[in-house]
């Protein structure tokens, strides 16, 4: 759903992360939600009641649609 900006862009090495078993490199400092979007996952979670797939919406910590259970965030948000 997102990709690295095309050239000319400063070349930065990036940080290796594993998203759902896929090894990718993400720019240093981006959120876990951004890594999920970069990896092209179809969703970041399923809702508790209906199981509907959800992806990140606001990327700024206000919508709570990016809740991911196993992140280091004390509030559960991936963004």
């Amino acid at each position: 759903m997102f990709r690295k900006r095309p050239e000319p862009a400063p070349a930065k090495a990036g940080v290796p992360v594993t998203v759902e078993g896929r090894d990718i490199r993400v720019p240093e400092g981006v959120s876990a939600a951004a890594a999920v979007l970069l990896a092209g996952l179809p969703a970041i979670r399923e809702t508790a009641v209906t199981g509907a797939p959800r992806g990140p919406y606001c990327l700024m910590g206000i919508c709570f649609d990016c809740l991911a259970g196993s992140t280091a965030s004390p509030t559960g948000r991936a963004a």
């Binding site: 759903m1 900006r5 981006v30 606001c58 910590g61």
Partner: protein, 376 residues
Amino acid sequence: MPPDRIDFAVIGAGPAGMAAATLAAELGLDTLLIDEQDAPGGQIYRAIEGADDDSPLGGDYLAGRLLVDEFRESVAAYRPAATVWHIDPDGTVSLVSAGGSEAIRARRILLATGAYERPVPIPGWTLPGVMTAGAAQIMLKTGDLVPAGRAVLAGQGPLLWLVAAQLIRAGAPPAAILETAPHPNYHAAARLLPRVLWPARRALWKGLKLIREVKRAGIPIRREIAGLRVLGRDRIETVAWDSGELPADLLLLHEGVIPNTQISLALQLDHRWDAAQLCWRPVVDEWGATALSTIAVAGDGGGIAGAEAAALSGRLAALDAAAFLDRIDPAERDRRARPIRAALRRERAARPLLDRLSRPRSSSPRTTSPPAAARR
């Protein structure tokens, strides 16, 4: 030994918070700036310390560097990566961070939590691949990341055109722009023009230049879009509206920004409905002070007025806090406030026009199942 109470706790490291903390520290207040992000800047100047001079985000974004540098050079303390989850009216701020939970006591607290994009609850808006225009901007700011595939921008307001221009500059032009501003917006805005044209000239000129930049890039633009909805099984596949549809991999929605009143509402402060901006805003005086003597508000969290106005209102709040804590007398507070208020008046001049131009249409959302009354 740390003091049992600090003087001034500022919540939010955007322009209002940074300007307030910087000035408060200069005035001799024991100041702490608390923020959720890892670096200062808030959302509008997010990741600015790592930005390049030729960033596709443009000059207005890069201008935030000055505020950040001044804050870094100030003697205000800084607690990044911490979420405020509760505030007591007695001045106790409860935080949670990776290191655990703690409480900080302050004599005065400034809420500088900024704004967020008005939610746009169109049918299908919960499908993966539907995000806000600001979210795409955050991807650009934090990681030089752009949409992959067909990205459609839909909505109205300055940010819609700004993000479109930024994506074009970053080499990822959107596939289309669907503008939802209804015709009456332009008529009503035109009636305001004689009064605001001169004071609003800079904002208007910037807006026209952005629209021109987007048009020159050849992006298909559709206007007066109604009935916007998203179709797809497990993620977005199509963006549809009353008179058309487009395939899309990403939909970026925007219908303006509104104050982040989470904390002010949790504190049960009085709020009033702003009919021009169609949002709730906390009731504050001309210094940002509220009915609770420990709590004040500055920046867009008190009412949308933009980044420059936010910094100015942050400084007014710092002056007021200093007077409240008897570090300066009211006469000095008023004297130092005068040039700030003059600048604030200039910054706010364009606001009535911008509000009227991008006023969301009020419409009943389409439903996928019959309304309750019809089912009885």
